[in-house]
Amino acid sequence: MSSTAVESAVVRARGVRKFFGEREVVCGVDFDIPAGICFGILGPNGAGKTTLMRMLLGMSPVSDGDYTLFDLPVAHADVHRRVGVVPQQDNLDPDFSVRENLLVYANYFGIPKTVASERAEGLLDFASLTSRAGDQVAALSGGMRRRLMIARALVNDPDLVVLDEPTTGLDPQARHLIWQRLRSLKTRGKTLILTTHYMEEAAELCDEIMVLDHGRILARGTPRELIARHVEPEVVAIRGLDGEEDAASLADGFDVRREHVGDTWFFYMQDAKPLVARCANMTGLTFIHRPASLEDVFLTLTGRDLRDEL
């Protein structure tokens, strides 16, 4: 292994497995995450994303395999100096103000007080929270709290920031503000790893994506590559069809792949214009013609059934 290869991969996983009792939730995955990119881990609930992240952060013992972070085993305490974590669940300290949350957290890293307070002011500015610095965290909105969690994750000036569903539950304005902040981190040379349910978020932020389901990697690549590889370029989503037979007769004569979710049928094809023309001549149909997106890749790979949280 050459030293440049070692340096360029921030995370390396070789045959990583996780068992909860008899149940295998991560089934021997192999991947590298190069430095300086935003890497997205996508998958439905129960796919193993969060477990993969928790193992990476030393929060869950690795059952088998080789899992390293900056060339150290993931459970090594020293790796935490170089990593910032934004967990899914809000664990800001409710006993402290916004600024104190940053200072107290810096103290866990052993950052000297003067450095910490200087950094805290910079991070408050970064998170647009300077005017709220003295407020208790309970007084903040959901978006502000999430921004504070991101700021807190940066207090040790990490090389890698790991975010577990960073915008879940936020309104569109708050999400866009967070996306903008995350993009600015990338331009500062930080490596980002994020899990998300939102394909829009993955498309906005991620340079590379890994789709996970049932503990296995289903696909990996840039958003553009994944779309080109796994789905046809155009999609027509149609509602108002009477059933499978109705859908089949509508597509009769076209080279088309069909999928059905709830009351909507998706028709994937190279060129959808003839189908759109046919739909326009029928009454009672609602249809949307659009280019294929990551959402289609995701649904094609992981299936369209509803699933329960595991």
Binding site: F20, G58, A77, D78, H80, V83
Partner: protein, 259 residues
């Protein structure tokens, strides 16, 4: 289990400082709560009951009771902190999980909580010592000052087991068992209110393995004219509870949080 003792002092201190900073914000209210209860016991029982009892174990009842209450309040303070407060931070606020995303490891979180709980025992103990002095519960001021490190040790001895229960507890309700089965029996049968040699033989033997008995036997002679017997035995028993409780709590907390 051995991993429990892989401790970086600065990490333990950072956990302690977090709790201290929170306490500082509400220090006055907290202090008032810490010593309100023991103050009432001393006043009500020490004066009221003391009037009828006169001397107990060869010393005035107020002096007998003050040393006992000092120990039992150290027990209560550390136990409450190790159960309710630590559980809130572990289970509801995610404070421990937040710390685990930094270089601080689980055994250091538990150690920080342990030392903090003992610190609270020390703070409230110092306040009670002053009150006991004012009410005439202290006969020997020269050795009374040694009660402070003893109270800190007593705090550690009760924080250890409390953190074990905390790491095992499914909810706050669970703590009631610990109070009914451990804390209240010790409060009543370990020599806080009367000498344990009045108890039946088997109860005396049982009391000898409980930490509060050793706490009282260590502290009472420091505040009164009673002779100090086997001080290092008492110190060793209290230290054993602290260390064993800590190691088990660190192990269990790791198993609970690092799944």
């Amino acid at each position: 289990m051995m991993r429990a003792f892989a401790l970086t002092p600065s990490h333990v201190l950072a956990v302690w400082q977090r709790n201290f900073l929170v306490w500082k914000k509400l220090a006055f209210a907290s202090l008032l709560g810490n010593f309100g209860d023991p103050f009432l016991y001393l006043l009500g029982l020490g004066y009221g009951l003391g009037m009828f009892i006169g001397n107990m174990g060869g010393i005035p009842y107020m002096a007998f009771l003050a040393s006992g209450i000092l120990c039992s309040s150290a027990m209560n303070t550390a136990t409450f902190e190790g159960l309710y407060s630590a559980f809130t931070r572990m289970r509801h606020q995610g404070t421990w999980e937040g710390m685990l995303a930094t270089p601080v490891r689980i055994q250091e979180v538990v150690a920080g909580e342990l030392v903090w709980a003992a610190t609270k025992s020390l703070i409230s103990g110092a306040a009670i010592l002053v009150v006991a002095g004012i009410l005439g519960g202290i006969q020997q001021w020269e050795t009374a000052i040694l009660a402070l490190p003893a109270i800190f040790l007593i705090g550690l001895a009760f924080a250890g087991p409390a953190l074990v229960i905390c790491a095992l507890a499914p909810s706050y309700d669970f703590f009631l068992y610990y109070f009914t089965l451990a804390v209240t029996p010790m409060f009543l049968f370990c020599g806080v209110f009367y000498p344990i040699d009045t108890l039946p033989q088997f109860a005396q033997l049982l009391a000898q393995v409980l930490p509060l008995t050793h706490a009282v036997d260590l502290v009472r002679p420091l505040l009164t004219q009673l002779p100090l017997v086997h001080p290092w035995l008492h110190v060793a028993v209290l230290a054993a509870y602290a260390v064993a409780g800590f190691a088990l709590a660190a192990h269990l907390a790791g198993r609970r949080l690092l799944r």
